[in-house]
């Protein structure tokens, strides 16, 4: 693949101009290229996205990736509510791993407030983030495997995901839209006996992963479809701002949890798996290996979980205990003020990035000193990865679009905001 002359004139930008196209690639009888429209509602694009691919035979000579079908105006809406009320909106960014988005938002506001949450809250954040990350990778790999015909793998992975979502549901009360983060801590403590149930669930998840590994990793059909498809070198990946599993699959060992640790990630031992070639198969392997690392982090965090408070004790940031609200005038006033006016960070702007399931999830927040953000912006990894998709599928076969799209793991809510 990638032997066509056309690829050399690529400037990395969408937009089709067929009029100047020379007879392409010399591999078929047709003198004209054909345009195929994929999506926005297509059974194999799990997410609303449109790809207009121009084909010469089966080869993609040009493509336009069209996103934005799920745009809800997250950033505009965030300007109208207070900082804690943004939490449900962040749930709906990457709705497969909403806890990570919650905590990313919290960490940004906490950086603006210059506070650090108690150790126990940090550990709870780590536990829920890592469970969410595994669930996210399971969804990504399961769906992609199914699209390549491995239906059993999908069912196994969905079953494993159910076990993890049961854990999340037990703590947060919801499976998807958890809204569990709070500026200054988390909403609730872990439930009693959570560690034992988590251990049992992880055991089941690992058993499923072993099965999936056996079914998939050395499967000839799977390898043929994934290997050497959508190859991105390390330099290209960095130039196209790829982060997360996609960047690591290209061989760049960069993980924000290791590089700039937040939420006590420095306390845990884990590896950062990297790929060699940067093709779809490497992306699959990196994600698969990351799940085990995430489970390891969870186990360490549960073993070392410190005692203490789960929110900061500052009454201007976190709600005071109900006991104080009902029995003291100060507590009542603080509660009222926080509910009515919200957290008020000082004037300033801040960018804070964490390692989301898909890559660098950054929030840029401008505060004007009131209870509402003046400007809130998400650096969503899916959106930027979709910008690289054209480059990935150029020169590939049309059948390669689906696995490539699966490995990018675009989540519509996060991509289109």
């Amino acid at each position: 693949m990638n032997d066509g002359k056309l690829l050399e004139v690529d400037v990395g930008v969408g937009g089709i101009s067929t009029s100047v196209r020379p007879r392409a690639l010399g591999d078929d009888l047709h003198s004209e290229t054909m345009v195929v429209n994929l999506g926005p509602a297509h059974p194999a694009t799990h997410g609303t996205i449109r790809i207009v691919a121009e084909l010469s035979g089966e080869k993609i000579v040009d493509a336009d990736v069209d996103v934005g079908y799920l745009h809800r105006g997250f950033e505009k809406m965030s300007e109208t509510v207070d900082y804690n009320q943004v939490m449900p909106y962040t749930d709906r960014l990457n709705y497969v791993s909403p806890a990570i988005n919650n905590f990313g938002w919290c960490l940004t506001i906490e950086k603006l407030l210059e506070i650090e949450v108690p150790k126990r809250a940090q550990y709870i954040r780590v536990i829920l983030s890592e469970i969410s990350r595994v669930a996210d990778h399971l969804t990504c790999l399961g769906a992609s495997a199914m699209e390549l015909g491995a239906f059993t793998v999908m069912l196994y992975m969905m079953e494993a995901r159910e076990d993890l979502w049961d854990l999340i549901e037990e703590v947060t009360g919801a499976r998807l839209t958890v809204s569990f983060g709070r500026v200054g801590g988390v909403k609730d403590d872990l439930t009693p006996g959570f560690a034992e149930r988590a251990e049992a669930a992880f055991k089941k998840v690992r058993a499923h992963l072993v099965n999936c590994d056996r079914l998939l990793t050395r499967n000839r059909i799977f390898i043929d479809r994934m290997c050497d498809v959508a190859v991105i070198s390390a330099e290209e990946a960095i130039s196209m701002s790829l982060t997360g599993p996609l960047l690591r699959a290209s061989g760049v060992k960069h993980d924000l949890r290791k590089a700039t640790p937040y939420s006590s990630y420095e306390d845990f031992e884990f590896d950062v798996p990297v790929g060699l070639k940067g093709d779809n198969y490497d992306r699959f392997l990196v994600r698969f290996a990351e799940m085990e690392e995430s489970l390891k982090i969870c186990e360490q965090a549960l073993a070392k979980l410190p005692e203490g408070a789960i929110t900061v004790s500052d009454p201007h940031v976190a709600l005071v205990p109900k006991d104080e609200v009902y029995n003291s005038i100060d507590g009542m006033i603080n509660h009222f003020e926080l509910v009515m006016y919200g957290v008020k960070p000082p004037k300033g702007s801040v960018y804070n990035a964490i390692e989301g399931a898909n890559g660098e999830l950054g929030f840029y927040v401008v505060s004007d000193g009131t209870g509402r953000p003046y400007r809130a912006h998400v650096r969503s990894p899916s959106f930027i990865h979709m910008g690289a998709m054209r480059k990935m599928i150029l020169g590939a076969n049309i059948s390669d679009i689906v696995p490539t799209f699966g490995m990018i793991n675009m989540i519509g809510g996060e991509c289109d905001r």
Partner: protein, 206 residues
Amino acid sequence: MVDTKSRTSELLETLQKEAGEMLQDSVIELGDLVVTVAPEHLTKVLSTCKNSPALAFNLLSDITAIDWMDLRDERFEVVYQLLSISKLWRLTVKVAVSESTPEVDSVLSLWAGANFLEREVWDMFGIRFKGHPDLRRILMYEEFVGYPLRKDYPVQGKQPRIPLRAPEVENTARRMHRPDLVTIRPKSRSQASANAQASEGHSSQK
């Protein structure tokens, strides 16, 4: 925590050495270095940041904009977030953009990843990026009126209805890519059916 502080001041020193004369302002805000540059120096500063081995900002993390309305002289501010994977430091570069000529230079030649990011800023704020070859709307649709993230765009703003798009009747890439709009008028349709009737030999009736 102490470590990041000394790293940030180290970064500031290096940046002063490499591109000091082009920086309008540099502050350390909440542990991060934020520099402001003039629009004419933007690409120069960013290419220095990218290409200088001492700085090594190889990854463009984010581009966004802020609408300051009447709070500042220049209405808009475009904000670039850079990350160095080898040095592991971050830099925020801000450039002020006026309301009368909302334009900055595109950094697409430096980072291919700027493509979608610049299109998003154009879509949301109406800030043009000079030199971007494909500056189309990205999250909104082509017929959208106005720029939704500007502060003067109402939160509950309503948009005019757009007519149905033409079905893809011709097998050409050009039409499919950005289809022309067709207004469907019932009147012309009844005329067409009337013509059809006429051609069959019947007398046309109202």
